[in-house]
Symmetry: C2
Subunit: 331 residues, 2 copies
DNA sequence: TTCCTGAAGTAATTCGCATTAGCACCTTGA
DNA sequence: TCAAGGTGCTAATGCGAATTACTTCAGGAA
């Protein structure tokens, strides 16, 4: 001890220069000196218990954070999350202990949920269990979802990517290049982000007066092409590659006969050599922003909802529509 | 409440069937029912405070865990760490708050160290501050280093890669293929792992009676080749690529004129298309094992030190030594 | 009836810190 | 000289669980 009480040490540590609490500079220095010598650090657990905060942000993912595959869905988000966490001086807690019940996905609330250990948490995943969301909301646990989420017993705080305008812009581009028959390839369901893309497509079609068709991913490329579609908007990145390959196999030239536009969803790892036209999801920025918003929530409360714009990328797979003498592509 | 005391709940939660503590099955069931209904979970912070453990393992890295570059030094280790943490039901705490003092690396013990929040921690990095190690040791904080570390005021618990035998085996292979003049390219210092590689090289040279030379990475390739060396053992992976490129530029054919063997260090991101012969560092396994050992330390104490074997990989850059009519390579 | 021995559960204490109330001392001003 | 007000610090309390030490009760033996 430096000859003072535990209280004094606490006050010095927390830099309290408040109105009603004063510490003589000399005393403060004495305490700091002792701290320096002993290398004392306050126990974060006790701190949390007493104060209610511990500068730890949880990160919940429904699958492993560090996947064995190199094509890594979470990684870009995590880069942003880590950057921002470092800036605001928070540690990151990965809920790796949340085991999945045989075969199922992880759940946030299992028998021994650890979420409360963190001040708040960031949810990462293509989809999030509505039950989990509802419970998070109900228990008043501060959190931010990365990716837009529909209400779940109340508004859900999120940072999402703004798909509809991006898809719409892409549709307009295609139409400006003469495309009249457009195809959307993808489920268009299975999460808000997929639905948003499809919605953007429909909006674009409506706005431009083009002919828009929706193909599920399992429709053979032949059928898609035979339908007279000259530009396809592909939800899933891996499907872009599949379509490009299939097109090459049957002599359909990309982009002269068929334009391919990617809508950026990356759920399956894939090797890419083509430079697809489409848009980029601002994953890193979303990660950063999620942490910022979480910090705000912790500070002042609220239920922020934000959509970040997607960045259009010029690739090599969009070309003017083929000259339509007939309804069939050449070759 | 379910009509019982806090103590009873605690006892039920912790499944205490101990000798001197009994709970009537009926009471137990009543408590469990209440827990189920309210969805109660024990506050981990309080738990840690009272019990001393909270099933959180810290992961300390000297740089960002999620680097922007895709070539990612930490990633394979983290895959293993996460796998094992999940198996033993622990969460992972990333010390992202450990800011570096302007320009310098992060330090484990900064003004407000958070290490104590975790039960123990895994240290990741090519090198680790000896001061940090010493302090960790002195304060009795359980930890395991990924990568062999020399003593720092006491033995350091680690899981390392066993470089010397791997390099030695590689040297023997080269010698078996007729190589007599071998070159080691790399600093051979800057961390235990580098020193171990160089040591293995020297051992190999001594064991086979070959002629071994040591070149620092900045020696021009011309000088290396001119020295009559027919096989180079390259510490740093990026240097392999650089050497292969330089060789191609001056008409030195790999592997006919010059064999290149990689010793697996990956400190700089690099694009690779060559399939280098050499060995693979068992990064993922090291991560797994580190967590296992940490769990053991937490359980029973001790200072485990382990070296995992490197796996030799056959690539395309090792060939029989060129026919030495003169001392100079063809071309 | 009294004493004793489990069985079942509870009050009280502890962990390390933040916070609140309050105490002792020192200036002032009247 | 005494009250009023300010200064600098400390005793006491609370956070939410784990743990220890103790109480109550029932049944059996003496």
């Amino acid at each position: 001890m430096a000859g003072v009480s535990q209280t004094t040490v606490s006050l010095v540590l927390n830099k309290r220069g408040d109105a009603d609490v004063r510490i003589a500079p000399e005393t403060r220095e004495r305490v700091l000196q002792a701290i320096r010598e002993t290398g004392y650090v306050a126990d974060p657990a006790a701190r949390r218990l007493a104060y209610g905060r511990n500068r730890i942000l949880g990160v919940f993912t429904y699958e492993a954070v560090f996947p064995a595959e190199s094509a890594d869905f979470y990684h870009p988000f995590l880069v942003g999350i880590e950057e921002c966490a470092q800036e605001i001086g928070c540690d990151l807690l990965l809920f790796t202990s949340a085991k999945a019940a045989s075969g199922a996905r992880r759940r946030i609330f299992n028998e021994e949920s650890r979420v409360r250990l963190a001040d708040g948490c960031v949810l990462l995943g293509r989809t999030v269990d509505r039950e989990d969301l509802a419970r998070l909301l109900a228990e008043g646990i501060p959190f931010v979802s990365v990716g837009r989420r529909d209400d779940a017993g109340g508004p859900v705080p999120y940072v999402g990517a703004d798909y509809p305008p991006a898809v719409l812009a892409l549709v307009e581009r295609a139409v400006a290049l003469g495309h009249r028959r457009l195809g959307y390839v993808g489920a268009g369901t299975g999460g808000e982000s997929m639905a948003d893309r499809l919605r953007g497509f429909h909006e674009g079609v409506a706005a431009t007066g083009a002919d828009g068709r929706h193909f599920t991913p399992d429709v053979p490329l032949g059928d898609v092409v035979a339908s007279g579609v000259t530009a396809v908007f592909v939800e899933e990145y891996a499907d872009c590659v599949a379509i490009a390959t299939a097109a090459a196999e049957r002599g359909v030239h990309v982009p002269h006969d068929l334009s391919i536009l990617t809508l950026g969803a990356l759920t399956r790892p894939v090797q890419v050599d083509t430079d697809f036209t489409g848009f980029r999801i601002p994953r890193r920025e979303m990660g950063r922003r999620a942490v910022q918003l979480l910090a705000e929530i912790l500070e002042t409360g609220g239920t922020p909802q934000e959509l970040l714009p997607c960045e259009l990328v010029d690739g090599t797979t969009l070309a003017p529509a083929p000259n339509l003498t007939g309804d069939l592509p050449r070759g």
